[in-house]
Structure formats: C-alpha cells, structure tokens
Amino acid sequence: MAVLAALGEVVLQRAGDLGALLLSARRALAAGGRLHIDAVETLRQTHRLFFDAVPLVLVAGVAVGGVVAMQGLMYVARYSASEVFGWAAALSAYRDVGPLLLGCGLAARIGARVTAELAVMAARERLDAVRALGLDPEPTVVWPRLVATVACSTLFWAPACTLVLGVAFVVASLIGDQRIATSVWSVVSYVDAGTLVNGLLRMVLFGLIVGLSSCHAAVSVEASEDRSAGAIGRAVYAGSVLSLAGVVVANAVVSLLGGTG
C-alpha cells in the first residue's frame, strides 16, 4: 500500500509540475519570440554556466567513454565484430547513451546550480526587489538562465560526445586490442548525418527540460510560505528529480518517435 500511495503521490505531483512547466515554457517561448529576454544577462549566464560545467563534462565524458567502450567490447568479443565497433560506439556516443548521460550530468551541475541560485533569490526576496525596481524578474533574471542552460547543453554536445568517442576508442584499443584506425574507418563508413542531427536535437531538448525544471522548482519557493534553508535544499532536490525524470522520459519518447538514423 505504501508503494501505491507513493506512486499516486508522485503521479499527482508530476502532473501538477508538468502543467506548471508547460505554462512556464509557453511564457518563455512567447518572451523569446518578442525578444523580451535580457540578451546581455543571457550571454553572461551562458559564459558563467558553460565554463563552470567544463570540469564536470570532462570527467563525465571520460567516464561515459569508458562505459561506451566496455559496452561495445563485450559484443566485439562475443561476435568477433571489430569492424562495426566504431559505428556502434559513435551511435552510443553521439545519439543514445552519450546525450542521455551527459544530460543527467548537466542536470546535476547546471540545473542544480540554477535552482539553488534562483531559490536563494526567491527566499531572500531579491525577486521582489527586482519588481520594486519596476522590472519583471522573468525576462531579466529567470529566462536568461533558462536560455543559458539550453545554449550550454547545445554547445557541449559536439566536444563532449567527441570526447566520449575518443575515450571509447582509446580504452577499446588498450583493453580489447581494438585498432583505433579500424574504429575511425567504421565511423566514417557507417555513421550518417541523421544520427548526428538526432543527437544534437536531443541535447537541445534535454537542455530545455533541465532549464525549465530548475527554474520552475526554484520559483516555487517564492509561492510557498517556507523560505528557510531547508526549503532551498528541497527546491534543489525537486529540480534535480524533475530534470532527471524529464530527461529520461524525453529520451524514450524521442527514441520511439525517431528513426534509426
């Protein structure tokens, strides 16, 4: 019964969150369409969040590369299929496993940071102070962070996934005697542009989900009466959970709707 009650609670919570997220997305898109977002602040946030996440992306890229290599090597060993290792690793790195795990990493680094910052601003009534100055906090404080999250996610895709692939090739050559030249040849021969476009679109979508989830979780602190330190922690927690669930579900939907490319 406890599991069912928890499941029902989660479904209700997520349904409420999804509705609020869609409303936020609509307002953000409308603001973006009217160019009603502070461009300088957006660039500043993009620069800050991007360079802040570089160490995490480097470490996560190496770890994900190791996972991709080991996953491929098991099949190479079982089916003697060293010719297709590069193709399978590229598919994982650029489209399936790479964007998914990097999306989870970005949800942890950028998403949690954005949530914590905005939640502190909401709890300390700094958003009210922005309003008192006659400014709307959404286009000046909240949406720039959302756009910056999407921009960082998009900018990280090519270097991070190439790092994942490079590490996978090196690990496979060191542990599994898989020649790097054969792996590169396999990528050049079999990987098509559709795979790359699919992966890039996934990262853009994951960035949007992480940004929306983080901003939504943080701004909800303003609506609640509890503005203690515990409320900030709960906002970070809620943003992380929402981001993770959003990223994996979006990944499944894109995979089911997308083609094999």
């Binding site: 479904v11 940071r113 914590a116 922690g233 970070v236 993770l244 990944n251 089911l256």
Partner: protein, 243 residues
C-alpha cells in the same frame, strides 16, 4: 562546527556495524530510500529500457533482418550495465540531494553540535543509518529496476516489433557473476552517494546559500562518482573475464 572528515569517518565506521544502529532510525531511512524512490526508479529505468530496446530492434531489423538475439543481450545489459547505472544516477539526484540538504541544514544551524553537547552521537544516530539505508536500498532498487527494465523491453518489443515476450525473455542468459556485478555496482553507488551527500552537507557553512550549494555539490559528486565507478568496474570485470 562539527569536523566533516572526523564525523564522516565515524559515520562510516558506525555503518560497518549496522546491528549497533538505532533500529527506528534505520527503518525510517530505508523507508525514505526504497519505497519513496521506487516510482522514480521504475520510470527512469523503464524509459531507458524502452529507448534502448526499440533502437536495438530497429537496428537489428535494418542490418540483419532478425531480432531473435536481442532478448538475451538486452537482459544481460540490464543486469550488468544500465540497470545499476540508472539506479545510481536516480539515487544521486533524488536521495543524495535530499540527504545533503538535511545534513547541511543540521550543520549550518548547529544542531549536530547541540546533539553532541547533550551526549548524543550524530554520526551514529543520524548519519550512519543514512549510509546503511543507501547501500541496502541501492541493492533493493537495483533488483526492482532490473524487473522494470525487462518488463519495459518486453512491452516495447511486443508493441513496436511484434516480438512475443516468451521469445524475448531469456533468463538463462544471466550469469551468476552478472548478478554479483549488479549487487556490487549498486552497493558501490549507494556508498558513493552517501559519501558525497554527507561530505557536502557537513562542509556547509552559513545559511540558505550553503544548503543550496551543499545539495548541488552532493548531486554533482554523486553523479560523477557513480559514472566513474561504473566504468572502472566494467573494465575490471572485462579484464577478469577475458580468457
């Protein structure tokens, strides 16, 4: 302020002797980790399983015209690789952030010091139950996640490619050492999430800003630690299995 390294060490030591921990605190933490994480774990593992099963089936049909070999490979992937990894990431984001925020709040408002002053041992009564619950809970969630993974794969292949669940389900493909791998990976993930959350929480200085920063650090540390641990264990396993 409670010294982070000494407290973490004392908590880890106490967690190694779980029978000495207060039972009610342990049950409460287990309840937080397992039943409350089940919905999220099931959704995330099943979503990743759906995506991979569908893509594997489509690639197999496109290249080989045959999907019969996917079932045995998919079940092994769930036990040894993606089941434990997705459970670890979910625990980092859900439980890691929550525990870190709680410990950071206790640390920043000096509650841990007050407990010590009144003769209580916070490492034993607060932190160690979190560690034991995370390790045991991660293993339980790994097994639950594996069931969700297999069911998601069966449903996806049935609905998308018309593959019968009886054709798809190959429990004989799971090796004993694969199950050991699942348990080891999940236990390691639980320990990493605990270490990351507790060290981030105990290092918190100040008020609300510090709590937010601690929760962020815990999530980042947990995610990166679990990814690195998974890759390292895979490599050790591959080398150990190689003839």
């Amino acid at each position: 302020m409670t010294a982070p390294i000494a407290t973490l060490g004392a908590a880890a030591h106490a967690a190694l002797l779980p029978w000495r921990l207060p039972l009610d605190a342990l049950w409460r933490r287990l309840d937080e980790v397992v039943p409350r994480s089940v919905p999220l774990v099931v959704v995330t593992v099943a979503a990743v399983g759906c995506a991979l099963a569908d893509q594997a089936a489509r690639q197999a049909l496109r290249l080989l015209g045959d999907t019969s070999f996917i079932g045995p490979e998919y079940i092994v992937l769930g036990v040894e690789e993606f089941g434990p990894l997705v459970v670890a990431l979910t625990l980092s984001q859900r439980v890691g952030a929550g525990f870190a925020a709680e410990v950071a709040t206790l640390q920043s408002d000096d509650t841990l010091d007050a407990m010590a002053l009144f003769g209580e041992r916070p490492a034993l009564s607060v932190l160690a139950p979190m560690g034991v619950a995370l390790v045991l809970g991660a293993i339980a969630l790994g097994l639950i996640g594996f069931v969700a993974w297999e069911l998601a794969g069966m449903a996806t292949l049935l609905l998308r490619s018309g593959v019968s669940p009886f054709t798809f389900f190959h429990p004989e493909a799971i090796r004993g050492d694969g199950v050991v791998m699942l348990v080891v990976k999940c236990a390691a993930a639980g320990a990493i999430v605990f270490a990351s959350a507790t060290s981030a929480g105990l290092s918190a200085r100040g008020g609300a800003v510090a709590v937010g920063r601690a929760a962020t650090r815990a999530v980042v540390g947990g995610v990166v630690g679990c990814l690195l641990c998974s890759a390292a264990l895979d490599m050790v396993w591959f080398v150990a299995r190689s003839p």
